[in-house]
Amino acid sequence: MELDWEFMEETLPKVWAGAGVTMELTLLSLLLALPIGFYLAVIRLHGCKTLQGIVRSYVSFVRGTPIVLQILLLYSLLPSVLNVLVQAMGWQINIFEAVDPFWYAVVVFTINTVALLAEVFRSALNSIPRGQMEAGLAIGLSSLQVYLRVIIPQAMVVAMPSICNITVNLVKGTSLAFLMTVKDIMAIGKIAASFGYNYLEAYIDVFFVYLVLCTIIQIFYHLVEGRIGAFRGKRA
């Protein structure tokens, strides 16, 4: 079997162009999910019992169902729900045309990432020894001050490897956005592939682009972790 190198060379830039959409989807979901996930983690640790229960159920719902299912569910549900709302408001908008599926993808991946981050932040905050808070209170800081200056900076370092994992998984996970007709790396690769039946070549291109993206992300996180975690001293 021969690889069609020419086709691969031609397709690579097109697939690479999809990296923009993939990264937009990833970053947007991540940036939306970070504050919400953090907030849910704080609720899990300090909120009232009812709220804690709600957050716990939310997390186990998201973690306990396949993301493909969540995508299909939301993609069939969300537009119709929005449509009902818009109709109720009496607006003359056709939701099915007006909203780029990209935004549905953002919603799905944000919902998913929030749940993952809530767990990560919860365990990271929990991992900081109680003595840190007590020492802060004892020198006259408020608990909020101790949180902001001592606990959270340390918890972030603890959370960094998991956030890196979540980000990489998110990049890979967004490949499912083609189910919602979003033109990301995967979607472009599939279209190119079916064009001349050069499936293998197209998928190798796709493979390569994901590999590069994920490697860059991991290097980035490694650098950030080294920087904000400098206080831990020399470690491998």
Binding site: P129, G131, Q132, E134, A135, G136, L137, A138, I139, G140, L141, S142, Q145, R149, V150, P153, Q154, V157, A230, F231, R232, G233
Partner: protein, 255 residues
């Protein structure tokens, strides 16, 4: 009288850990608290700066009296600003350098400017012999060095009283001396008021103005170091000292 503590009680899960503990502290006093493990020494200290909430008891501090069980947030914040705590396991802020550990209570806690805080911080580090390590993180310091930074953090805020909870018991034996030396000079040269839970008898004998022996949540006996070590009245005190200071105790018994 700097601090007058009356009737402190505290239970955990129905077990009475502190039963009506009283203590008076004058300016410049070094009160050493001794007692077997589990007698409630740590709990008592923690009740004084509200790391633990006592079930009952009062504290008069600078002429202001407050209920330990129901002090307002504001009153608690005030007490914490006038006291400092040195922990058994140091509890330095892991993400802060030695100097930042010392200055945080000044800048964030008391609104002192960064520059002034830095000066006070360096001076405090100097007093504990840690000036050269000002920019080190706790992870880069030995236990003894960490504890000295812990002490610098406590003295930097110029508290009226410093509470020490077994400040040397987590240290390797060869590092104990450096920390005790620092505490001794703070007491004798700076006249800092301290309440110290420790089993370092030499320190108690040399530095304590007052020794309190606690067992099972009550003050069994108190007096000068001389009183307690050489002429203990209570059987429980004698038993305890016999275990801690066997040689000396036998000597004393012979005389």
């Amino acid at each position: 009288m700097l601090m007058s503590i009356r009737g402190v009680s505290k239970s955990f899960n129905g077990a009475e850990i502190l039963k009506n503990v009283n203590m008076d502290i004058d300016q410049g006093d070094v009160v050493v608290i001794l007692g077997p493990s589990g007698s409630g020494k740590t709990t008592f200290l923690r009740c004084l700066n509200f790391l633990e909430q006592a079930d009952g008891g009062t504290m008069e501090f600078h002429g202001e009296k407050l209920q330990l069980a129901s002090a307002s947030k504001q009153a608690i914040a005030d007490i914490r600003k006038k006291t400092a705590f040195v922990f058994q396991n140091y509890n330095l802020f892991a993400n802060k350098t030695a100097l930042e550990n010392v200055t945080l209570g000044l800048t964030a806690g008391r609104g002192i400017s960064k520059r002034e805080a830095r000066e006070i911080g360096l001076e405090a580090l100097q007093k504990v012999g840690m000036l050269e390590r000002a920019e080190y993180y706790p992870s880069q310091l030995s236990g003894g060095q960490q504890q000295r930074v812990g002490i610098a953090r406590a003295i930097a805020v110029k508290p009226d009283v410093i509470l020490f909870d077994e400040p040397t018991s987590a240290l390797d034996p060869e590092l104990v001396g450096e920390v005790l030396q620092v505490m001794k000079s703070l007491a004798q040269e700076e006249g800092i008021t301290m309440i110290v839970v420790t089993h370092e008898m030499k320190f108690a004998q040399d530095v304590a103005t007052h020794v309190v022996f606690m067992a099972d949540g009550v003050v069994v006996e108190e007096g000068s170091a001389e009183d307690i070590f050489s002429h203990p009245k209570e059987a429980r005190t004698r038993q305890f000292l016999q275990r801690i200071l066997p040689e000396q105790f036998e000597m004393a018994a012979l005389i």
